[in-house]
């Protein structure tokens, strides 16, 4: 099939859009890991929760209410999780943490089923973002452009906060060496708590943003978990750069794989993961320290 430039532009935008959605998800997970060395498998469930909150809130007060409040609500759940479970698990080994959050997946999956039922829900795209924009010579759905923009904004904001501000420096110091950071008067525990909540809020935001695009189903969290893990493992756990790189790689491989090698589409990304881990057993851009 011969394709024109517009086709490839469209696919590039698709890849970017998928990458940004994954980035929103993986960044929370990777920041939590980087700071707390805590693998939160329930991150996907928080994403699903965000989508459900957004759907319920949107039904009451429209899309933007869901968009702004769902992350807050998920952060609230994060607070509960942190004070109930995570805080106590901080000092246990990674295996225990993986299992507790694995258990949480089951619990949260069934809780969403109990509260919201098995039927798929959906949110309408807000009027403001309906339709398409002509862009680089193609027409592209405004909402998808919004996701790309939002992803880039969050990326910029995080890069700014983590890279340029005092707080960012403190967080990175905590990532590098939490004991020494504490010796400089930084309350690393509180920072962890805040970061965990922010990570949860980002998961919730990803859910709220994905909801109008996809359908909201109880298992959406479980389904997104593996791609998210692949993203951060390819990129290297705990680094912003890794999350960006991983998301972009995943988005590009998935999108262009679907177009160029459809038979291999579902195997391709796993093959890539395996290859990356064989060549670089700790991912492409692992956090130092």
């Amino acid at each position: 099939m011969a394709h024109d430039l517009g086709f490839w532009t469209l696919q590039a935008l698709n890849a970017l859009q998928l990458s940004m959605l994954l980035f929103l998800l993986s960044i929370g997970l990777t920041v939590i890991f980087g700071l707390m060395h805590f693998v939160n498998l329930a991150h996907g469930s928080l994403y699903a929760l965000g989508a459900y909150f957004a759907a319920s809130l949107a039904a009451v007060g429209g899309y933007w209410m869901g968009f702004f409040l769902a992350p807050v609500a998920v952060a609230g759940v994060g607070i509960l999780l942190y004070s109930g479970l995570i805080k106590r698990m901080r000092k246990s080994g990674p295996m225990a943490q993986v299992l507790v959050t694995f258990g949480l997946i089951f619990v949260m999956l069934d809780l969403t089923r109990i509260f919201w039922g098995d039927l798929a829900l959906a949110i309408e795209v807000p009027a403001l973002l309906e339709g398409r924009l002509a862009f680089l010579g193609v027409e592209y759905p405004t909402y998808r452009l919004f996701i790309i923009a939002l992803g880039l904004m969050i990326l910029a904001a995080l890069a700014f906060v983590l890279g340029r501000t005092q707080i960012g420096a403190m967080i990175r110091a905590g990532v590098d060496n939490d004991a020494m950071a504490a010796c400089l008067g930084i309350n690393v525990e509180r920072l962890f708590f805040v970061v965990f909540c922010v990570g949860c809020a980002l998961a919730g935001l990803a859910g709220a943003v994905a909801a109008p695009l996809l359908s909201v189903t109880p298992d959406m969290g479980l389904q997104i978990l593996i791609p998210t893990l692949i993203v951060i493992v390819i990129g290297g756990l705990g680094s912003l750069k890794g999350a960006v790189a991983g998301s972009l790689i995943y988005g590009v491989v998935q999108t262009f794989g679907a177009v160029l090698a459809p038979q291999l589409a579902s195997v391709l990304i796993y093959a890539l993961l395996a290859v990356v881990l064989v060549i670089k057993p700790v991912g492409l851009f692992p956090a130092k320290g």
Partner: protein, 369 residues
């Protein structure tokens, strides 16, 4: 006489919503028609979790421990494939209330398995010739990459090309792993087709229809498909994106017959939502069972025989069982999803005549033992 019925449905997992819908229809029919027969029914429900091994275990339990007279249900074709030999060998009649794989009433048919739902090719085949009649010459097809997806599309492709149409592109997307159809939609757009024909169901259907609309494809490239795409169960989640999508299915809630009016009214009253094709499948499965018991059948063998001879007027029109395959014979409705008063509704564009599936290698032995 007391008849033990095993209801084998997914109540958890991806198809939990379908299981609940079928069960609701099943119970409704028991309520409405139980008076017509002397038999009484004891229902034992088991959750398949949409996992074939689990379902097989549950089927074994129903057959060997609970000693049921008849089993109804089964949503996924994989599960049907798994329990097929078990029910066949045990001689337990099975009323299939959803799973549509062609083999179940083809090469793998059994005198004990009666399908009251549909077969994959049955709902797609008529659409091929119908679409060509509407003047559509070139079609791009999309479906998830699994057996049912391929069967649905193959049936459509066969009749569409037989009628003189051309399939200009065909893609199968990774099943249950594709959340983003953007890449495929760009392909479809670039393919030069007049229309797109798809099969998607459940969550994938919602995502697909919404994304199709958001890319602005609907205007230039009308969307057609197997009716599960805009099933009543999901169509409201799709919202305005579903307007104008034309699909074909064995049931639409807006079929204008008295039988359907009674059914939709009763179902809506009982469940607070308009019934979907899954509800009607459950409803008719129970109805078929009741019809069979009316003949006096009460044990496994007699029920199996009686089930094959059921014929009644239901919400979807006149239903009968094709003795050659044990598949239901039913009319197919082409409908367009349109905006209703406060939710989406359907306009039936055409009722295509009931047609029995080809035998597909089915060698039906008479009910023995």
């Amino acid at each position: 006489e007391d008849i033990k019925v095993g209801l084998l449905l997914p109540f958890s997992g991806v198809y939990a919503a379908l299981g609940n819908e079928i069960e609701a229809g099943f119970n409704l029919a028991l309520e409405q028609f139980a008076g017509e027969t002397d038999a009484t029914f004891e229902i034992i429900r088991e959750d398949t979790e949409v996992k074939p091994p689990v379902a097989l275990g549950k089927a074994k339990k129903l057959i060997l421990q609970d000693d049921v007279d008849v089993i109804a249900g089964i949503v996924s074709s994989g599960v049907l494939g798994a329990v097929r030999d078990m029910v066949h060998d045990a001689g337990v009649p099975l009323i299939v209330a959803n799973a549509g794989n062609d083999e179940a009433t083809g090469a793998d048919c059994s005198p004990f398995i009666t399908r009251m739902s549909f077969s994959n090719s049955q709902v797609n085949r008529p659409m091929g010739s119908w679409m060509h009649e509407q003047g559509i010459g070139k079609v791009y097809t999309l479906a998830p990459d699994y057996a049912a997806g391929r069967q649905m599309i193959d049936a459509f492709t066969a009749s569409f090309t037989a009628a003189g149409g051309e399939v200009v592109g065909q893609e199968f997307t990774p099943f249950q792993k594709t959340k983003d159809f953007g890449p495929y939609l760009a392909q479809a757009k670039a393919s030069g087709a007049d229309a797109v024909y798809v099969f998607y169901a459940g969550g994938e259907a919602i995502s697909f229809v919404k994304q199709y609309d958001s890319f602005g494809l609907k205007a230039d490239l009308p969307l057609y498909g197997s009716g599960f795409l805009t099933s009543q169960l999901y169509v409201n989640a799709q919202g305005p994106a579903a307007e104008g999508v034309i699909t074909a299915l064995h049931y639409v809630p807006t079929i204008d017959t008295p039988a359907n009016a009674t059914f939709t009214e009763a179902f809506t009253a009982a469940n607070g939502r308009v019934p979907s094709e899954f509800a009607v499948q459950g409803y008719d499965a129970a109805r078929a069972l009741i019809e069979a018991t009316k003949t006096g059948a009460s044990d496994r063998a007699s029920l199996a025989t009686a089930l094959r001879e059921v014929k009644f007027e239901g919400p979807r029109g006149t239903l009968s069982i094709d003795p050659a395959t044990n598949n239901v014979v039913q009319p197919i409705y082409v409908y367009e999803t349109v905006a209703g008063e406060n939710s989406l509704t359907q306009t039936v564009l055409a009722q295509l005549p009931a047609e029995a599936d080809p035998v597909n290698g089915c060698e039906m032995a008479p009910v023995s033992n």
